[in-house]
């Protein structure tokens, strides 16, 4: 088993004919993901060709769901249209929507999240690399070459930092159950606690790596959740110990505001919850293999 995506995932790609959408659809198909449809308004009826298959393109997600039974979507459309794409998938009844798009205005996400909470749709992202279940399915842009099937769950706010950690795991022969990028925006569809809960309930996941960063207090809340509800071992890393206050460090959400959102506060909360926090990503794997 795994969480969120697996062999049964039937994926529709929103923005399949765009530059990023088409490149990464090829990559997802090459990894073995079951991509059943693409959506580009105005191009319904055309086909998207990969090396191995022809994927039908529809004018809307609703049509794609009706024709193909798609049960997950991934959004590769520009920021101006991305919120619409989220609403469209939720309205079409898609249970899992993964939004990679960066630069969606925060107030738009507040409204979108409000709407999604009234639907049976889980959003991952925005501004995230997506997720990958090694050997089964990849939705998004995490490089398929660096993963290996196994029993460590990974959840992270960062893209490339996740690659770094996952690659190090794979190099040491430690496989992953699912790697989930929740994104670095202030308002997210899925947070640390959501994913930690899923890993706790997933029999195939033995332990978890959580990668956080400065800004907000999601890591502190996750620490409280871990202390109360998790039996599985969690190892963490927090990026941004040296980040200056008041500056947005690349990610919209990565900002220390006054005394809130500092790395120190997050590390302390995690340590207090019994979570081991690595001071260097190269050491995370050591902590994972060292047992309790």
């Amino acid at each position: 088993m795994s969480i969120l995506v697996d062999k049964n995932t039937r994926l529709v790609v929103q923005g399949i004919t765009g530059r990023e959408g088409s490149f990464h659809t090829q990559q997802m198909v090459a990894f073995g993901t079951n991509v059943v449809a693409g959506v580009t308004p105005g191009k319904g009826g055309q086909w998207f060709e990969t090396d191995s298959q022809k994927i039908p393109i529809f004018d809307s997600v609703k049509y794609a769901v009706e024709a193909t039974g798609a049960n997950a979507s991934v959004i590769f459309v520009p920021a101006r249209f991305a919120v619409d794409a989220i609403y469209e998938s939720a309205d079409a009844g898609i249970p899992l929507v993964v939004c990679l798009t960066e630069y969606i205005p925060v107030l738009d996400m507040i409204a979108a999240r409000r709407y999604l909470d009234s639907k049976n749709t889980r959003l991952l992202g925005p501004n995230c690399p997506g997720l990958i279940t090694p050997g089964q399915a990849k939705v998004g842009i995490i490089p398929g070459s660096i993963v290996k099937p196994g029993r460590v769950g990974v959840v992270s706010k960062s893209g490339t930092l996740t690659y770094e950690v996952v690659y190090a795991l794979t190099e040491r022969g430690i496989g992953q159950s699912t790697c989930v990028g929740i994104g670095g925006d202030p308002i997210q569809g899925t947070d640390f606690i959501d994913v930690l809960r899923m890993f706790e309930d997933d029999p195939e996941t033995e332990q978890v790596i959580m990668i956080g960063e400065i800004g907000g207090n999601a890591e502190e809340k996750a620490a409280a959740f871990i202390a109360q509800h998790m039996s599985k071992r969690v190892t963490a890393f927090i990026a941004g110990r040296t980040a200056p206050p008041g500056r947005r460090m690349g990610h919209a959400g990565a900002i220390v505001e006054g005394k809130s959102g500092t790395a120190e506060s997050k590390i302390k909360a995690l340590n207090d919850a019994g979570v081991r926090v690595a001071d260097n990503p190269d050491n995370i794997v050591d902590l994972v293999v060292s047992g309790s």
Partner: protein
């Protein structure tokens, strides 16, 4: 993006929030003229994008146009926490101040909603109030579909002991501040202090506003308000190139793809005893030109004694990064030692391109950081000898 006080207050006023009469001046003569029109009793306030202006001597009272001119002369050109004062706001003095209130609308990330925050302890550093006397901070969340409701402002007004005859006006101000927040895609609109004047009226004497950078593309009027003179030149060039660059005080320049990895690279440099000179995220799928600009910006900092390039390719390709590095090295002559660590997509091709460049390579982030710290220490020693 942060706005100046005068910009924030003008936006507040567009939504019915009362502000003092006033205008901005960039010369003492202009300050004098504005003060004269306002009747002489004014306050002269430095317009810089940082806090603590008062303590730094950037806010002064004047009782005549002559005094205003003299104060402006003193304040203009001052350096406040590294920001040069280029403009002063000349505001008419409030007719006596009976009480100072704090009022803001901001985003509560945890609850994923806008939130009103108020305190009877206005005019002070609100962080300090929150720290020492959290019970003095009153909050209420705003449901976007409902907006600010009357019962909420009544509750806040009573909690901060606002005289009852001002509750109605207070409600209008909170509604206006939220409308201003919403229509301008702000992440913060703050009045500190909101005063009760000697005439018994509420007035926003100071204002602060932060705009959500993600929304600037649809807020063109606000985008034009950006004070480019206050933005370090390297950061402006980076912004226009589409890369994220923040200058710091250390001596090891770093170039990384991805925000989390870029922060981590800085952290690891520090962990191994070095000091990062900057944060630089070239973003996902960076092209050679962007990489070249990034490296050029790093090398333009005279403090930089070593450079660490850490790329874990996903969408970003190692060969593209390598081309950008060579491009920059062709444009800028430099003796600064460089350490590069390439992994992920097309890392092998990238390494081949850089084989002839004199750069130290590393397999892991730790190794790269160790080497960069050693190189910077060596460079510092050499320059002393």
């Amino acid at each position: 993006m942060n706005l100046h006080e005068y910009q924030a207050k003008r936006l507040f006023a567009e939504h019915g929030v009362p502000i003092p009469q006033g205008d901005v001046a960039s010369t003492p003569a202009e300050a004098r003229e504005i003060a004269r029109e306002l009747g002489g009793r004014v306050v002269v306030k430095a317009q810089v994008l940082t806090g603590g202006r008062g303590k730094a001597g950037g806010v002064k009272l004047a009782n005549s146009a002559d005094e205003a001119e003299a104060q402006a002369k003193q304040i203009l050109g001052m350096d406040i926490k590294g920001f040069k004062v280029r403009r002063v706001l000349i505001d008419k003095q409030a007719p006596g101040i009976d009480q100072e209130i704090y009022l803001a609308v901001l985003i509560d990330r945890g609850r994923r909603l806008p939130m009103i925050m108020a305190s009877a302890s206005g005019g002070m550093d609100i962080e300090e109030v929150a720290d020492k006397t959290p019970e003095k901070i009153i909050t209420a969340h705003i449901e976007p579909v409902l907006g600010v409701r009357g019962y909420q402002t009544t509750y806040i007004a009573s909690q901060i002991d606002l005289p009852r005859d001002l509750w109605r006006d207070f409600h209008k101000i909170v509604v206006g501040l939220y409308e201003c927040f919403k229509s301008n895609d702000a992440s913060l609109t703050e009045i500190n202090p909101l005063v009760i004047t000697g005439e018994g009226k509420l007035m926003a004497v100071d204002g602060k506003m932060t705009i959500d950078d993600n929304a600037l593309s649809r807020q063109s009027r606000l985008a034009e308000m950006r004070d480019v003179a206050e933005e370090p030149e390297a950061e402006r060039e980076a912004r226009l190139t589409g890369i994220n660059f923040i200058k710091l005080d250390g001596n090891i320049g770093c170039m990384v793809n991805g925000a989390g990895l870029a922060m981590t690279t800085m952290d690891i440099i520090k962990l191994f005893g070095g000091d990062p000179a900057n944060f630089l995220d070239i973003g996902g799928g960076a092209k050679a030109d962007q990489v070249a600009t990034g490296l050029r910006l790093i090398l333009s900092d005279p403090n930089v004694e070593a450079v660490l390039i850490n790329i874990f390719g996903g969408i970003t390709r190692g060969d593209e990064v390598a081309k950008g590095i060579l491009q920059a090295l062709n444009e800028v002559e430099t003796a600064v030692p460089m350490v590069i660590r390439l992994a992920g997509t097309n890392a092998k091709e990238g390494r081949a391109i850089l084989a002839d460049a004199s750069m130290e390579t590393a397999e892991t982030l730790s190794e790269a950081a160790r080497k960069a710290v050693a190189a910077a220490a060596g460079a510092a020693k050499a320059s002393q000898e």
